[in-house]
Amino acid sequence: MTAVDGAVARAEPADSGWRWLSPRSLVVRPVTDLIRLVPVLAGVLFFGSSHGFGGYWTVVFAGLAILTSIVRWCTTRYRITAERIYLRHGLFSTKVLSVPRDRVRSVDLTAHLVYRLLGLRRVSVGTGRSDRRGGGSLHLDALLLADAEGLRGLLLADVSPVAGALAAAAENGEAGQAGAAAPAAGIELARLRPGWIRFAPFTMTGLVIAGVVLGSTAQIVNDLRVDPANIAPVYHLVVRFDALSAGGRALSGAASVLVLLVLLSVAGYIALFWGFRLVRLGDALRVSRGLLTTRTTTIDIRRLRGAEFSEPLLLRLVGGARCLAITTGLRVGEGAEHGGSLLLPAAPRPVARQVTAAVLATTGRAGGAARQLVTGDLVRHGPAARRRRYVRALAGALVLIAGGGLAWWARVVPAWAFAVMLVLLPLAAALAADRYRSLGHLLSDGWLITRTGSLVRRRCVLSTDGIIGWRIHQSWFQRRQGLVSLAATTAAGHQHYVAHDIPAADAIALASAATTPLMTPFLTSAPATP
């Protein structure tokens, strides 16, 4: 509790209290750069530096970066008053960012390895507006662990007194080790089991990491000015690869890429999600995770508008799923794994269902039916919607095949390549069938459920309280079949949740049942005026 008391005591003299970031954060940049420079320095030492100036430039830029970070530290202050949080920075033109404390929706603490070695945490204060403009959140980079936790306790006490107190207690017990076996305050909803790592190869994490690794390897090789072919093991590999037949090359190439991707995605899963825990602390959900870089996200339950049960195709094939929060102030979508809205990484489907239901139950609006919201049957969209799935998928495939045929005719590609393209037809049919199987919606007791997608199937459960408008879209083809796509707009998550291709009458009925006062005046069958 000392951390919280300390923070409160320092926050109390409200008008004078401009504070500095931790002086230790001055060390972060040089240390990080030094680590990054190791290959270059090694290159300079072992290979000599007569090859060019690349190494020197790297050193110069690192020096500049360090200088900038010192200037930044010297010119940055923050202050917490009873109403607002202020952050002031800038050397020549001082800029003051401020956030009203009652707008604080989430407080994240992140720390990569260097931060952790130095006992520092980066604090991100998220507000409800951060989902639209990057400027909505405020970063303190970085504070001492105790100060950071104290600050979080203080800010979350605004959000929820219980959560604040529990958070502080939990943190003191855990001493900042996310996922350590220390006794947890609050209710644990999920915890990573090592067995879940088997799902890692079926996520896209490997591809992302492969890109990063390739990029940085290329840079290091470039900095070192070594021809990779001159390194003995690489040279032998290349020679052996050259000796293979074309088929052998393709096979061994594909196999090694596959093995590499699997290894990378497993490593990535462990790095991102090691020690993953989802805990309910009073009125807040707390997600903590990470092996090297630790990250703790706190979500105010009153800002939670629902949850998304998400099954990317590969993961679905092996019985896995993920769970994301639909909440105002946190972004969903690309990079959600790295963002704050993730509630459960790739895990067995039953666990994901259970966690999604448990999260929905925390809102207190789901009654006893939370489980039903996640697993219950949905209203299917009917034969016209099914036909549209097939027409669209097959039309897409036919366009590609026609292009292939044209290329064959123009002798750009051989005949067998065109023949291979015909495989697209059954693939498209399978995709259409699966896309139709995914389609569904339901309005159940104040919750709007939509399910859609094949490559990523998402079942989104949105509280009707969170619906702040409707969009109905009808294309020419939809009009001929009496279908519309109905989107509920919301300030949370993806910002809109769509029921694709439902009969027009159903759409109107659904919208007016979900938000009766809003829709009634616009219905034809409405009574004159209530």
């Binding site: 707008r103 409800g128 989902d131 639209r132 800002r303 105002t328 702040i468 408008g469 409707w470 969009r471 109905i472 879209h473 009808q474 294309s475 020419w476 009009r479 519309v484 989107a487 707009t489 919301t490 300030a491 949370a492 993806h494 910002q495 809109h496 027009a504 009458a505 759409a507 109107i508 009925a509 919208a511 006062p517 809003l518 829709m519 005046p521 616009f522 219905l523 034809t524 069958s525």
Partner: protein
């Protein structure tokens, strides 16, 4: 009048007001300018490269499509575009081949703004945009005459001023 005809979507009545008649002229002018620019580019290309076989086909086709678009789109669009503002909600219909309906409650509207492009100003038109806390929840009303737009802007600004909270 809107009640007399059957609405485009069964069960959902059409918004009460049409947009300004001048909008047809504005859309026509815009489409014509677009078509001319495209045709001009093709002629320029033909002059530069020389008339081949396909340019002789492409130019008439472009002209035909552009003329068709310029004649049909504005009139069709005028029949689709409608709007209505009640005490509780903003309700619009827009589009032509594809049609969008949008409904946003007044108490969830965060900002109201009006933007006039050069073209709209030449035709004495304005549009009004209401944004909500949802990035996907904007409601645009295009092709209003200036007086209506100003009145609407004032009404909505006053109406949204009454709402407490951050409208999420």
């Amino acid at each position: 009048m809107s009640q007399a005809v059957t609405p485009m979507l069964p069960g959902l009545r059409d918004p009460a007001n049409r947009v300004s008649r001048r909008a047809v002229r504005y859309w026509t002018a815009r489409a014509a300018v677009g078509g001319l620019v495209l045709a001009g580019a093709e002629i320029g290309l033909a002059v530069g490269v020389g008339f081949g076989g396909w340019q002789a086909v492409a130019l008439p086709v472009t002209l035909l499509l552009a003329i068709g678009y310029t004649v049909i789109m504005p009139r069709w669009r005028y029949r689709v575009h409608r709007w209505e503002v009640t005490d509780e909600a903003v309700y619009t219909r827009a589009g032509w081949i594809s049609v969008h309906w949008r409904i946003a409650p007044i108490n969830r509207i965060q900002t109201i703004d009006s933007h006039r492009s050069l073209g709209e100003r030449l035709f004495g038109l304005a549009n009004v945009t209401a944004t909500t806390a949802s990035a996907e929840g904007h409601v645009h009303i295009h092709g209003l005459d200036r007086v209506t737009a100003d009145r609407l802007l004032d009404e909505l600004t006053i109406a949204t001023g009454h709402t407490p909270g951050d409208a999420t």
